[in-house]
């Protein structure tokens, strides 16, 4: 059993740029999704094929969900790329990290005087850099979309205002502003915690009873991988909906 580490292990460097095993699997997810995208684009027909049908079904479900939150299809179409990409990227990364062949492939490296086994790939969401990177992008996007939708003044007026009763509302506004940063922490640590815990659980169960017993846990992690991607994208969607609507609308 390799050492459990909160940090993603560095595999190699390009110049002084570190490439970790989590980043490597993130690249694999990226390439997988791009390849699927190319396949879909090439086979795009008015009468859909199998792959296109699956993707259309998925897209239609996301649309329905977004319609129920945003209220209209036009807005759903506008914000679909961000929400769907977050969902697909996280889900693909989580599921790729669960492949049984992913764990055993690795190399032995000397770290702080000790030789230890470092897996070549690691589930990207079990590295805080991945989850925090996504959370930061999501939060920046939410605020930018809010600014584009209702204007800079109105959007940031939610946080910095001097409405009566003066000190209370202003204080709530500042708390709201601080909560934007807290969202980054809550977004990233929720995903990281769930996936990392799952990785550790699978590692320990696989170490203790290697045959059959890890299977239910593996299925559980497949489900967790989907649910966490869903929660991340849904929270992003809800925050977008809150940001792009005027104060009086909600």
């Amino acid at each position: 059993m390799h050492e459990i580490s909160l940090r993603a292990e560095e595999i190699f460097r390009i110049g002084n740029w570190p490439i970790t095993n989590a980043l490597l699997l993130s690249f694999v997810s990226l390439i997988t999704l791009i390849l699927i995208g190319i396949l879909i684009k090439r086979g795009l027909k008015i009468v859909p094929g199998k792959l296109q049908s699956i993707f259309e079904l998925l897209l239609e479900q996301i649309f329905k969900l977004m319609d129920s939150v945003l209220g209209e299809r036009k807005l759903s179409e506008k914000y679909l790329p961000l929400v769907a990409t977050i969902f697909l990227f996280i889900m693909t990364s989580n599921w790729l990290g669960l492949f049984p062949v992913i764990g055993p492939i690795g190399l032995n490296a000397v770290h702080e005087g000790k030789t230890s086994f470092i897996p070549l790939f690691r589930s990207p969401a079990s590295d805080l850099n991945f989850t925090m990177g996504l959370a930061i992008i999501a939060l920046i996007s939410i605020n930018l979309l809010g600014v584009f939708a209702i204007g800079f003044k109105k959007h940031f007026g939610k946080f910095f205002n001097f409405h009566k009763p003066f000190p209370v509302i202003s204080f709530i506004g500042i708390l709201e502003f601080l909560s934007e940063f807290v969202k980054i922490v809550s977004f990233s640590f929720r995903l990281f915690g769930n996936v990392f815990a799952g990785e550790v659980l699978l590692l320990i169960v696989g170490f203790l009873v290697p045959y059959l017993v890890p299977l239910p846990f593996l299925f559980l992690e497949v489900f967790v991988g989907f649910i966490q991607a869903f929660i991340f994208s849904m929270l992003t969607l809800v925050f977008i909906a809150m940001a792009v609507k005027h104060e009086g609308e909600h």
Binding site: S5, L6, R7, A8, W17, P18, I19, T20, A22, L23, S26, F27, L30, L33, I34, G37, I38, I40, K41, L44, I46, Q52, F55, E56, L59, E60, E77, L80, P81, L82, A84, T85, I86, L88, F89, P124, D127, L128, N129, F130, M132, G133, L134, I136, I137
Partner: protein, 167 residues
């Protein structure tokens, strides 16, 4: 704080790499999948809408055509009945005319036939008269040649025989 960040493995370079990864994916998927697919779904939706509208219109037209068809059939039946009635009347009239003509023609034929028969009768009578004259003449000649005793009897029988042969 630095130790915590170190322990958690937070590194701005990795953060940036992951962020760039996501942005690349967002751009590529938007260009390759979301936009074309949304466009295609919208196009298909419009086509289906158009098709449904067309089907509705076609159904309306079909009903209208059915109605017109029923009307036309009704009209045609009426016209056909009129035509048949008219034809029957005209046929009957024509039949009567033909029968009348035929009767006239038959009468004419009968008259002609009677005339021909009369003519033939007259001709036969003339021929018979002529033959009878000849017979009488021959009979008289024979009578002159015969014995007066037996003249009556022989004459009569001879004349009868000749007439029999001639007939």
């Amino acid at each position: 704080m630095t130790e915590l960040v170190h322990q958690l493995g937070l590194d701005w370079k990795l953060l940036l790499s992951q962020g760039v990864n996501f942005l690349i994916l967002l751009t590529v998927l938007t260009m390759l999948v979301y936009r074309p697919l949304s466009k295609l779904i919208e196009e298909r939706r419009k086509k289906i809408e158009f098709g449904l509208m067309g089907a509705e219109e076609a159904e309306k037209r079909l009903k209208e055509i059915d109605r017109i068809k029923s009307e036309k059939i009704g009209e045609a039946e009426k016209i056909a009945l009129n035509i048949v009635g008219e034809s029957e009347k005209r046929g009957q009239k024509r039949f009567d005319e033909i029968v009348k003509i035929a009767e006239v023609r038959a009468n004419e034929v009968l008259v002609d036939a009677a005339k021909v028969a009369e003519h033939k009768k007259q001709e036969e009578l003339a021929r018979l008269t002529e033959k009878a004259g000849l017979l009488i003449k021959q009979a008289i000649i024979k009578t002159v040649e015969l014995d007066p005793k037996h003249i009556d009897e022989k004459l009569v029988s001879e004349a009868a025989r000749i007439i029999k042969e001639q007939a």
